[in-house]
Symmetry: C2
Subunit: 346 residues, 2 copies
DNA sequence: CTGAAAGCGCTTACAG
DNA sequence: CTGAAAGCGCTTACAG
């Protein structure tokens, strides 16, 4: 697969073998007119034989495209690790990217300051053609930097303040309503929400959605606790809620890890699930299906979310703009962790 | 930060502003002799002012280095997601890589055939200077391809058959012994092992280590079950082991997710943890510290493992070879899931 | 101490 | 239908 001298083949090696100019090789390989079909076929055969692929560096220079996009995750590694979301999202991104021969550059950093520095560097070095932005904050300092640099980007999640950044977002309103409506139909009146990081925009959007969904049923939405998505804070939030004088009969969590933690806490506190406490998980991963009892969860296609985000970003890079898309709403998958409350609250 | 025409600055823009040749700019910026110190400073100031960074594509062309390394994860996305290992490992890799301004290209694929195709493509396109190879199989078809291509690589984990691929590996022998010795000291005689994927080399190495550790104490190692690391198979394996006529009083798991699943299964089957069943988890993530009861686990520094792997790979790329390294052995962190068996077995 | 030039591997007008 | 040449943004011998 390598040329005799041990180096990777170039169009020059192909041209030499075929006895034509390098220009002819390029035309032949790129399907452009200007070479006879026999010559073209001969060149293609030689290229395949040599295992030749165009050097990205050379293509980048001439086309001023990096043929790569970047993703920077700005959360502590320990938190990312246990969150099944990201791997599935990344798998979805790549399904779309690798089909188009675009590489994904991944960086994991501690905070937004580091993320901004990394973005600036990647852009200045022409490493990426665009960025996927996740975990948008209510006030997100990355946004003005993207604008300043003119760095094409797409947000995975709604953009605060409706900036000019196109986004692919989830229908949180519908998802949260589905969970609340179902619990209310079961007879629950006192429903709590264990939300994610308060600085995140989607945390606030979902809290708002929760409030509205409760209001539709004439119910107050007092029991809202924010967390950092970890098992620890999920457990703590559950403990807090279950220690209140009138405790909730149902809790809706913003991810699945915390919901599993809640099952453990309930058991530890002698609260039966689902008889005395119904639990709804926010994402439907392995954990939910196999916990004990299995968890009712909001299920949505995270890989598709990733794929759509990638597609939107590529469109943005190619056309200069992209429409903001809305993903299909999550659906409620009912399992063993939800039931009618044993003693109807109030 | 951009030049007046809106495009990213190049050394030509800097040269124009400074009134010198582009060669002088390059010398000044690379700290090479050939420019007066005043000129050098003026050039550096302009470069900083412009936010200039050398284009990787251009540097790649001249230096024939991609300034990137690749990581291809060949597991189903759903399995990867719940496995805290990978994010921590990647975070460790990047700690080392980004300090050296090397980018990490990540790809997630379904199987080794796809991984091989992706590796070939990356190498042919000159996208990467080297690869990190994880999850080595007992018979791993990626290895001959790396050799054929002459693609510098480093294995995270021991290499089957002691091929010429350098590796950074863990001391599985010591880790497994630590767990077995501790359980035996507590009075356990019947100890089971729930291992990972049987095709993986380290699964077999750890099983061997388990057998040897048991033999040291004159104990048989009959109860060994392999799994795919998922919650589901962890639960199933636990159920199988606990259904045997003489059931084990302790189980050592190959990751933490399965250990948490085992706690649930034990509860479901009315087996008290740790009184009737001691549980040791294979990796020490959040899940272990906060499960109920908290899990005794083999703790090791996965981020350091990633960092060392990256460093070894960079050395391999630079020097053409790298020594195989051995990580510090995992240590046993004792928590609430292990205790002396209530009724001493046998 | 500084400038002009070649070259890395491609693509793409531009001549023949 | 084909070849010779310029250019992408750098680095690095090589002259002055």
């Amino acid at each position: 697969m390598t040329t005799p001298d041990g180096r990777r083949p170039t169009i020059a090696s192909i041209a030499a073998r075929a006895g034509v100019s390098i220009g002819a090789v390029s035309y032949a390989l790129n399907g452009r007119p200007g070479v006879s079909s026999e010559t073209r076929q001969r060149i293609i055969d030689i290229a395949n034989d040599l295992g030749w692929r165009p050097s990205v560096a050379a293509r980048s220079m001439v086309g001023s495209r990096a043929h790569s996009v970047g993703l920077i995750l700005a959360r502590p590694a320990d938190t990312l690790g246990v969150e099944p979301f990201f791997m599935r999202f990344i798998a979805g991104l790549e399904r779309e990217l690798s089909a188009r021969r675009i590489a994904l550059l991944l960086q994991i950093v501690e905070d937004h300051a580091a993320a901004i520095e990394a973005m600036r560097l990647w852009w200045a070095e022409r490493r990426v053609d665009g960025m996927v932005i996740t975990d948008l904050w209510v006030k997100d300092e990355r946004l003005p930097v993207l604008a300043e640099l003119g760095l094409p980007a797409i947000a995975a999640g709604r953009v605060p303040g409706g900036g000019d950044l196109p986004s692919v977002s989830t229908d949180d309103e519908a998802a949260v309503s589905a969970a609340v409506d179902y619990l209310v139909a079961l007879g629950h009146r006192r429903i709590a929400r264990v939300a994610g990081l308060p600085v995140l925009n989607h945390t606030q959007l979902r809290i708002d959605a929760f409030r509205r969904a409760m209001r539709v049923h004439g119910l107050p939405a007092r029991d809202i606790v924010t967390t950092d998505y970890t098992w620890g804070e999920g457990a703590r939030a559950t403990r807090t809620l279950l220690s209140r004088r009138t405790r909730p009969t149902a809790i809706i969590f913003d991810n699945d890890l915390m919901a599993v933690a809640a099952v453990n806490v309930a058991q530890e506190m002698g609260v039966a699930v689902p008889a005395e406490l119904s639990i709804v998980a926010g994402d439907d991963s392995q954990l939910c299906a196999l916990a004990h009892p299995a968890l009712t969860a909001l299920a949505w296609d995270i890989q598709a979310y990733g794929a759509h985000t990638a597609r939107a970003l590529l469109q943005r890079i190619d056309d200069g703009h992209a429409p903001s898309l809305r993903e299909q709403a999550a659906t409620l998958v009912v399992r063993g962790s939800t039931a009618a409350p044993v003693k109807a609250a109030r």
